[in-house]
């Protein structure tokens, strides 16, 4: 039997389903562009859920990311943030957080200063926006509030004792307790099924009964990020009403629930906003020609061709497959775009893992122009409407500088605005609306 073959035609196609990809799709729809999005990576599950803008500079935590960005533009002129103004970055973050909140997942607004967010081993990190389920932890730390940290029998890599021991210098007196998770006793347990179970009233009731005897005089209870996947703010409110204390979540070893929440949120809502989303398909081949870009995808049941006038490439780095390292060198995997790199593997990594300068390999990637278009070896755009966003960009080390989400969202903003301008759409143009609930299979171009 012949494999079904489907063809989609779009103005803009986003390749990649990380934060940069989803942000690009949202921004493009807000401009009224006709959008498709494809991707295959689950790397969103590796995020803590915090939205960082710039938390570390020169190996030190910084309090003011906006001043930090101003300084970064002076010290690292090649950094992608150097192609963006603070006002644009602010607009991008506000737009993204606004969209996420509108879809029903609470995040705190991006403020003037970094917040001090909790990490699972009792240390903290500077970040700009927190999920509403995590923000009370930062507030409780600021007040040194009397708090209980809860962990679970069979949940690996999350120890209340470890959190409390390492937090003791700044937040003394934390109480700890270990619970068996209702319905998962005597088993190895994982955050995602625990979170899904807490969406049911029965599990919540059993959980409340087990937690209540440990409360004592605490005002806050911290626990791993398991407060539901689809409606965490509702789950948290329901538990708080029963327990009479403030709950807060702490990130866990991946796959972590905060990232799964974001991914499922976008997958649920983007088709209804008119994005032709294929979240489990990898773009296998790509062809550039003067009038546009053709992508070929091979699914389990069918082949799919996408014809796009413009593309935002947000395929991430090595883990997500946007870049590939061979013994002989590093390449971009979809278009074969040039990746400027040193001669030989010995220069990719420094001898010491925790060298505060980070590793050179983490700064390799795609060099772009002011419109975030990848450049060829001669410094000219490879294609007039091929743009790139997110971690695949060269000249940045998002992990060390705690800037991953900010870089993804701001570069997606810039790439989409540049593509939109080329395609003739104007900012804020809602464009033709699609009926809520429209599935990608019903998009124009379906064979």
């Amino acid at each position: 039997m012949r494999r079904p073959h489907r063809r989609i035609e779009t103005q803009l196609t986003v390749v990649g389903t990380g934060i940069a990809g989803f942000a690009a799709a949202l921004f493009a729809r807000a401009r009224g562009l006709d959008v498709a999005q494809v991707g295959h990576s689950g790397a969103l599950a590796y995020t803590t859920g915090y939205l960082d803008l710039l938390g570390v500079a020169d190996g030190r935590k910084i309090a003011d990311p906006w001043a930090g960005l101003d300084a970064l533009r002076m010290t690292e002129p090649g950094h992608p943030f150097g192609r963006l103004a603070n006002a644009d970055i602010r607009a991008a973050l506000d737009a993204f957080i606004g969209e996420v909140n509108a879809m029903g997942l609470g995040y705190t607004p991006a403020g003037a200063a970094n917040l001090t967010a909790l990490l699972p081993y009792g240390v903290t990190k500077p970040t700009l926006s927190l999920p509403e389920t995590m923000w009370p932890g930062a507030a409780a730390l600021a007040e040194r509030a009397p708090a209980l940290i809860v962990d679970f029998a069979g949940l690996q890599g999350f120890s209340a004792a470890e959190f409390a021991a390492n937090m003791a210098a700044v937040w003394p007196g934390l109480a700890t307790a270990r619970l068996a998770f209702p319905g998962m006793e005597s088993l190895q347990v994982f955050p995602e099924p625990m979170a899904r179970a807490l969406e049911t009233r029965e599990t919540r009731a059993a959980f409340v009964a087990r937690l209540r005897p440990h409360l004592g005089a605490v005002t806050h209870v911290g626990l791993p990020a398991i407060l539901g996947v689809h409606r965490p703010d509702t789950v948290r409110a329901a538990l708080e009403a029963e327990l009479g204390v403030t709950l807060f979540e702490i990130p866990t070893i991946p796959p972590g629930v905060p990232g799964i929440r974001l991914r499922e949120l976008f997958e649920r809502h983007l088709p209804g906003r008119g994005v032709a989303l294929e979240p489990n398909l990898k773009a296998a081949e790509a062809r550039l020609d003067p009038s546009g870009i053709t992508l070929a995808l091979h699914g389990p049941m069918e082949d799919l061709d996408i014809r796009a006038e413009a593309v935002v490439l947000a395929t991430g780095r090595f883990l997500s497959g946007g870049l590939r390292a061979e013994r002989s060198g590093i390449r971009e995997t979809l278009f074969g775009l040039p990746v400027a790199q040193p001669d030989g593997r010995e220069a990719w990594f420094r001898p010491a893992y925790f060298d505060p300068r980070g590793h050179p390999v983490n700064r390799l990637g795609l060099t772009v122009d002011d419109r975030f278009r990848p450049l060829d070896a001669a410094g000219a755009p490879v294609h007039p409407r091929l743009h790139a966003a997110g971690a695949v960009l060269a000249g940045q080390d998002w992990a060390r500088s705690r800037s991953g989400a900010g870089l993804a969202i701001a570069s997606a903003w810039a790439a989409v605005n540049a593509a939109g301008a080329e395609l003739g759409s104007s900012p804020g143009d809602p464009g033709p609306t699609t009926a809520p609930g429209a599935a990608p299979a019903q998009e124009p171009g379906t064979a």
């Binding site: 690996q156 190895q188 780095r317 030989g344 990594f349 893992y353 505060p356 060390r400």
Partner: protein
């Protein structure tokens, strides 16, 4: 730390030192074994785990080859639990010297080594990974040995006999001498920084690569060694059933040694002046490429194999003028210095040799020490089986997975998913393995198990084990994160030269975990925080 007193102080907890400890205990002599780091921290842990048939040396050094053969046969009898008697092949491929290959059977015969000629088809039937370019193949009784289990069991047996005690992270900084005898060693606990004194009757220097420096502390300048750095790379798949040697003069990438579920490809040889020069000791990308390019000629599948780490051992070779610049030409034999010509009557240094001959080296050393102490009991290690015990069996690849499956206990969670090391194994090591009287760190547990040795090279399990050690009360303050940081950095130094492909993607994930989630890069950043 309080002062110690012992009949025999053994410096260096590699295979030789551990072997001397057990040999003495079997003669009724008590000893204290110390190491500046921990068990097998030097060449005893930095090798491919080959139990030589002697074939490797047959063409160049008949005496060493015969010594390897005899010792290999003894160890297969007394310590079978540490050995995989998998056999080995010597193979030549197109381009190798056919005359060198043709001389191999006679050279083996001269050393008494069984050697069976195989046709290329017969060899490929045994080892399907061998190439079509094969021109000669011989089967020899090579085997593999787990150097970690071997050393753990030697130490544990001496402890069980009530005649041995082991102290890790203990350095010797000097000796007190009186009338031609060492009366005490000046030691320091490197973890706490506290100095202490060890009163002794006899001192054995089994410091391996560092033996020359230890001898010099006692005023003996006759121990002259050549450090020869050997780099090896590990794949976490078993590529061959048995050992595969390239049949040509020794060179880079000429041996593949399987062990449990892994394979080790070696070896390079680079002369090293200073064994403490960490930068020079670290394996490099260039060495890895050379080993891999050479090894692929013998086993083409290596070009497509994922390697999880590289490591370097520093072979302590006896220095001779001919060997000054080429470690491969230095003697693989061993020497026992009695230091009497240097004016000391109760100090000896045992150096050189190979893992395969560690028992014989220990026997000769213990003979000298026993004679000096007036003990007439003979050596028993050639016949007395090496017993196993709790906390000793977790270093073989695949062992912990088999144990966990057999027990089928759902509450015994897996801490290391790559190598299937369960919580119960970690608890047993913390409670029972040699060194447990001391503080068991993540690094010490990993050395006594497979933790951190699988595909993720410690990225995930370091976090899970650390959390468990907090739960178990092993860590009580902030020290656990510092130990995790040091452990991860140590694993990284081996991962670094094999980072490409899937391994590099894994390292990107590790960076996200260690930096983004654990904040280990900023552990010492005490910048003031301004919580909202």
């Amino acid at each position: 730390m309080s002062d110690h007193e012992t009949d025999v102080l053994i410096i260096g907890a590699g295979a030789t030192g551990a072997g001397v400890m057990r040999d003495l205990a079997l003669r009724g002599i008590a000893s204290l074994l110390i190491d500046r780091r921990d068990l097998n921290a030097g060449a005893s842990g930095g090798n491919h785990g080959l139990l030589h048939s002697g074939g490797r040396y047959a063409a160049t050094d008949t005496a060493t080859a015969a010594e390897c053969r005899i010792e290999g046969e003894i160890l297969k009898r007394v310590a079978p639990q540490c050995i995989d008697d998998c056999g080995g092949l010597f193979v030549a491929v197109e381009g190798d010297d056919p005359d060198f290959a043709a001389r191999f059977p006679a050279a083996c015969a001269a050393a008494g080594i069984a050697c069976e000629a195989l046709t290329p088809d017969e060899a490929r039937a045994r080892e399907p990974a061998l190439p079509q370019t094969l021109i000669a193949a011989y089967a020899v009784p090579d085997a593999t040995i787990d150097p970690f289990r071997l050393v753990l069991e030697n130490v544990a047996h001496a402890e069980a006999l009530g005649l041995g005690r082991y102290l890790p992270h203990t350095a010797v900084e000097g000796f007190e001498t009186d009338a031609g005898r060492i009366v005490a060693a000046q030691a320091r606990d490197l973890r706490t920084g506290a100095p202490f004194r060890i009163a002794v009757r006899e001192v054995v220097n089994a410091g391996g690569t560092w033996a020359g420096r230890i001898a010099a502390l006692a005023g003996c300048d006759e121990v002259r060694l050549l450090g020869s750095k050997g780099t090896l790379i590990i794949a976490n798949t078993r590529i061959a059933k048995g050992v595969i040697n390239r049949l040509r003069p020794p060179g880079d990438g000429d041996i593949l040694v399987p062990g449990g579920t892994v394979s080790i490809l070696g070896t390079s040889s680079v002369t090293l002046r200073d064994p403490d020069d960490a930068a020079a000791r670290a394996p490099t990308a260039a060495e890895v490429d050379r080993i891999l390019d050479e090894g692929s000629a013998m086993l083409p599948v290596l070009a497509e194999t994922r390697f999880v780490r590289a490591f370097s051992g520093v072979r302590p070779l006896l220095l001779s003028d001919a060997a000054e610049e080429d470690g491969r030409k230095a003697s693989r034999g061993f020497t026992l210095y009695d230091h009497e010509g240097q004016g000391l009557a109760n100090f000896c240094t045992i150096v050189g040799g190979k893992l395969t001959t560690f028992r014989l080296m220990a026997e000769k050393t213990a003979d000298l020490v026993a004679a000096r102490l007036g003990v007439v009991a003979p050596c028993r290690t050639a016949t007395e089986p090496l017993p196993s015990g709790p906390g000793l069996g977790w270093t073989a690849p695949g062992a912990s997975a088999r144990d966990w499956m057999a027990r089928a206990d759902a509450t015994d969670t897996i801490l290391c998913e790559c190598e299937m090391v369960a919580r119960s194994a970690v608890d047993e090591i913390v409670a029972r393995a040699p060194g447990h009287e001391d503080h068991m760190s993540l690094d010490a547990i990993a050395r006594r198990s497979r933790i951190g040795k699988g595909a993720c090279q410690g990225a995930f399990c370091s976090m899970r084990v650390t959390s468990h050690l907090y739960d178990a009360g092993v860590y009580e303050g902030a020290e656990g994160l510092g130990e995790m940081r040091r452990f991860i950095d140590g694993r990284y130094r081996g991962v670094r030269p094999v980072l490409w492909g899937a391994g590099l993607a894994q390292t990107e994930l590790a960076e996200i975990l260690h930096v983004g989630l654990a904040g280990l890069d900023l552990l010492n950043d005490d910048a003031p925080e301004d919580p909202r």
